[in-house]
């Protein structure tokens, strides 16, 4: 079942925002709401990794707002990816979300391998290649 990706966020190791992109169609959601959702998701992620013993990268559904669902994923280097989607009637399969997260991880690793991008710099990501890859992820899922 196709679902709409509303927002994709990448949060760094020290919980600093690296990249927050509003992918909703027609700008239905203001950018500020995306920032707010990503911020609250951080707390949920921290809670999940401290309580569950299992060391999995995909964290599943973190929480659900009125008509939005928030999924989380954490890498070994404590970089967190958040995907916010619109809730549809059919349940969203884990496999699909995992595939999306893997694509984002792919783009992130390509970004980190750039010797000119310093992962410790705490600055927002501004690479056009990364932008393009994320836009593809957002567009690819809602077809």
């Amino acid at each position: 079942m196709p679902f709409d990706v509303i927002c994709i966020a990448v949060i760094g190791k020290t919980n600093n925002p690296l990249y927050i992109k509003n992918c909703s169609r027609n700008a239905a959601y203001p950018d500020l709401k995306c920032h707010y959702i990503a911020h609250t998701a951080i707390d949920l992620v921290e809670e999940k990794i401290s309580t569950t013993k299992q060391a999995d990268q995909y964290l599943g559904l973190l929480y659900a707002l009125e008509e939005l669902a928030v999924f989380g994923y954490i890498t070994n280097t404590r970089v967190k990816f958040i995907i916010v989607t619109s809730l549809t009637d059919a349940a969203i399969k884990d496999q699909e979300m995992k595939a999306l997260f893997r694509k984002i991880h792919n783009a992130y690793v390509a970004l980190v391998s750039n010797p000119f991008w310093d992962p410790d710099a705490q600055r927002v990501i501004s690479s056009p290649n990364f932008d393009r890859a994320i836009a593809q992820v957002a567009a690819g899922s809602s077809s």
């Binding site: 890498t75 390509a110 980190v112």
Partner: protein
């Protein structure tokens, strides 16, 4: 005669960002993260080319630094930059769906996977320090980065293994186990180039490990 699947025109891999943008043009090499995990001979960098580069790095470090400590710090910084990036790549390729939260798992990951990917073979030994709880050591009998380096007599305390130490420090820091890492040459008669990386972990790491143990 069999032709390689894609041409290996240049032995050194092109920068990954460049490859991603060329992904649409077919016939070229696929982007670095979508290649086969099993590396063929065409993906290896020649040791002599690498040794040449490392020589230059060393002479740059010697020119710019004022003493042995400073030089070791510079080499360690070089290694840090390599380690941070190779950690992300390695974790993405070799450890999907799993995170290393325990210290021992991470250490064995470094000892086998990281060493194998970077140097082509596993490290020689992983030991726990007997004097202190928080010290661990990884040794390599003949590290290929320093194989061709001869240290002059007056810089006897210098260990070019500081580069490897920097890589290990970056991997540990990235995985969430901050540690002070130093490299020492512990040459023996059998292996005169033997280098030991000493890792001294922060108190926070030990506390967390204690919390994991079953009560």
């Amino acid at each position: 005669m069999s032709f390689p699947a894609y041409h290996a025109t240049v032995p050194v891999q092109s920068s990954p960002l460049q490859s991603v943008s060329r992904a649409s043009s077919h016939g070229r090499r696929p982007p670095i993260l979508e290649r086969n995990l099993v590396k063929g001979r065409s993906n290896e960098v020649s040791l002599s080319a690498y040794a040449f580069l490392f020589c230059e790095m060393l002479s740059y470090a010697t020119k710019k630094s004022s003493g042995i400590q400073d030089m070791e710090k510079k080499l360690s910084d070089f290694g840090y930059r390599v380690g941070i990036r190779s950690l992300e790549l390695l974790v993405f390729r070799d450890r999907p769906n799993r995170r290393d939260t325990r210290l021992l798992n991470t250490l064995s990951f470094i000892h086998t996977n990281v060493w194998k990917t970077l140097f082509g073979r596993a490290a020689d030994s992983l030991e726990k320090g007997t004097d202190n709880e928080d010290e661990y050591m990884i040794s390599d009998n003949e590290p290929n980065v320093t194989k061709f380096i001869a240290v002059p007599k007056d810089m006897n305390q210098l260990s070019c293994g500081a580069f490897i130490g920097g890589i290990v420090e970056a991997v540990l820091y990235g995985c969430g186990f901050p540690a002070k890492v130093s490299a020492h040459s512990t040459g023996s008669d059998q292996f005169p180039l033997r280098t030991t990386i000493l890792m001294k972990f922060d108190k926070s790491v030990l506390l967390r490990e204690k919390g994991f143990e079953p009560r």
